[in-house]
């Protein structure tokens, strides 16, 4: 299975009548089992790009190719749970075919067992994010999209949740697209990093990481991080695709 994104442009008409360019031409592809990471400044058009890829926004130039039968699991920036349904119902409504065993396993990994019958209004943001993650994984997605799943959580919690995401992403082959601000999250979770420019967004650099996700040691992660920081500094603004940083 393969996701091909080929956006040639996206403009947005403002209420005042002017047009703004949100996305410059953007092209990339993602294979099954691969984690692509979009990194870019706030407001650069990442969310617009995600909406186009998810099929929520059809008003753009270009094309998105993904198998029509591909199931999508999505973790939105705000958890977007149904406040009037319990945690378990929220997951089951999105994934009616999920087995009891699979659901129990997900709730165990995400530490949600005690909250099955709670309503989302009774949960902290960290817990609500976990429910959104459980919902996305319960559909057994072919394409998993994570829109800043660790934003506004404290470091310890973000770290724990990141490990849980890594476990779940490794548990089955799927195309994963992660949007984040954090270089650290990108290096720990991603296979290929796409650095985006400020609005209108285009891909400034594409950086694959050769070491498999599970095999990355702390020392290697740190090394990649320094290397990345150096590279970003020296090549700011240029388009460099296909570099191997490890």
């Amino acid at each position: 299975m393969r996701l091909e994104v080929e956006i040639t442009g996206k403009t947005f008409r403002s209420a005042a009548g002017g047009t703004h360019e949100v996305l410059a031409p953007v092209r990339f592809a993602l294979q099954s089992g691969e984690v692509g990471v979009l990194i870019g400044p706030s407001g650069c058009g990442k969310s617009t790009m995600l909406r186009i890829i998810l099929g929520l926004d059809r008003d753009f130039a270009g094309r998105i190719a993904r198998p029509p039968e591909a199931r999508i699991g999505m973790v939105f920036q705000e958890p977007r749970l149904l406040p009037w349904r319990s945690v378990e119902q929220n997951v089951r409504l999105a994934a009616p075919e999920v087995s009891d065993a699979k659901l129990s396993e997900l709730f165990r990994i995400l530490e949600l067992e005690a909250h099955r019958s709670h309503f989302p209004g009774e949960l902290s943001l960290g817990l609500a994010r976990r429910v959104a993650l459980a919902r996305a994984f319960a559909v057994e997605p072919d394409l998993l999209v994570l829109d800043e799943p660790l934003a506004s959580l404290d470091d310890a919690l973000a770290g724990r949740l990141r490990d849980e995401i890594a476990t779940l992403v490794a548990s089955r082959p799927m195309m994963t697209l992660l949007v984040t601000h954090s270089l650290d999250d990108a290096i720990r979770l991603g296979d290929r990093l796409f650095f985006l420019s400020p609005r209108p967004a285009r891909i400034v650099q594409e950086l694959p990481i050769a070491i498999p996700r599970a095999a990355r040691s702390e020392a290697e992660i740190a090394a990649i991080r320094t290397e990345l920081a150096r590279r970003i500094q020296s090549e700011q603004g240029g388009v460099h695709a296909g570099r191997d940083v490890s």
Partner: protein
């Protein structure tokens, strides 16, 4: 407890007022109760009450279902809103009496004419309330349902309907009071039974005890419906809301 106390205060005020004004204009509570008992034992009270309740139920269900559907459509589809809006404003401002009289002229003094006239009076307020509800729907949850490929019906039942529930409850509550005010006018003008008909008779005879006996019994019935049906529905629809401390 507080409710009982409030009710007792109402009775006391009524009784005192009755003592001052005199029994012909304002009969005392026991006098009215006696009429109620007499009418109930003859069966007339239940016959008229039943007829009125049946009309209220039919007109209410008709107006609520039709009004909710139209209101939802107008809130969701811009074209429907623009086409329907002038009609809505016309209906909202049409006096109830005009609708009832016209219905009786066009369709005769029939049951169908009465129920249709009552329903038409309630219809526009149901539309307006549900349209507001549909406009206030959370787009981000719609997107969630669409990304997870929820079938239409499941999305409507679990994503849309719970958001509309408070609006439906508000519409039902205001609708019930509106319908029961209008049903009496329709009965007074063109039906041979029902609480409205009895009140018409009582008016002609200046029979205040009878008038109060019928209207108060009906008010009690409406109170029971509100407590047993509308309030539990609201409580259930809102049970997910974290309660204020």
């Amino acid at each position: 407890m507080l409710r009982l106390l409030s009710f007792a205060l109402f009775l006391a005020t009524w009784w005192t007022a009755a003592l001052f004004v005199g029994g012909a204009k304002l009969p005392s509570p026991p006098a009215v109760l006696q009429v109620m008992i007499v009418e109930a034992s003859s069966g007339a009270l239940f016959l008229h009450l039943g007829a009125t309740l049946a009309r209220v139920t039919l007109a209410f269900v008709l107006a609520m279902s039709l009004g909710s559907a139209i209101g939802y459509l107008m809130g969701r589809v811009k074209l429907a809103d623009r086409l329907g809006d002038p009609w809505l404003i016309l209906l909202l401002n049409l006096p109830a009496l005009v609708v009832i009289v016209l219905a009786y002229i066009w369709a005769g003094l029939t049951e169908a004419a009465a129920i249709a006239a009552i329903a038409i009076n309630k219809l526009p307020t149901a539309i307006v309330t549900l349209r507001e509800g549909a406009r206030a729907l959370d787009r981000s949850l719609d997107e969630m349902a669409s990304v997870f490929a929820m079938p239409r019906w499941r999305a409507f039942r679990h994503v849309v309907l719970p958001q509309l529930a408070p609006y439906i409850a508000a519409s039902a509550r205001s609708g019930l009071s509106l319908v029961w005010k209008i049903v009496l006018v329709a009965e007074l003008l063109g039906r041979p039974n029902g609480v409205g008909f009895e009140i018409g008779v009582a008016f002609q005879l200046f029979d205040t005890p009878r008038l109060l006996a019928y209207s108060l019994t009906f008010a009690a019935v409406v109170l029971v419906i509100e407590t047993l049906l509308v309030q539990p529905f609201e409580a259930r629809a809102n049970r997910w809301r974290p309660r204020a401390a």
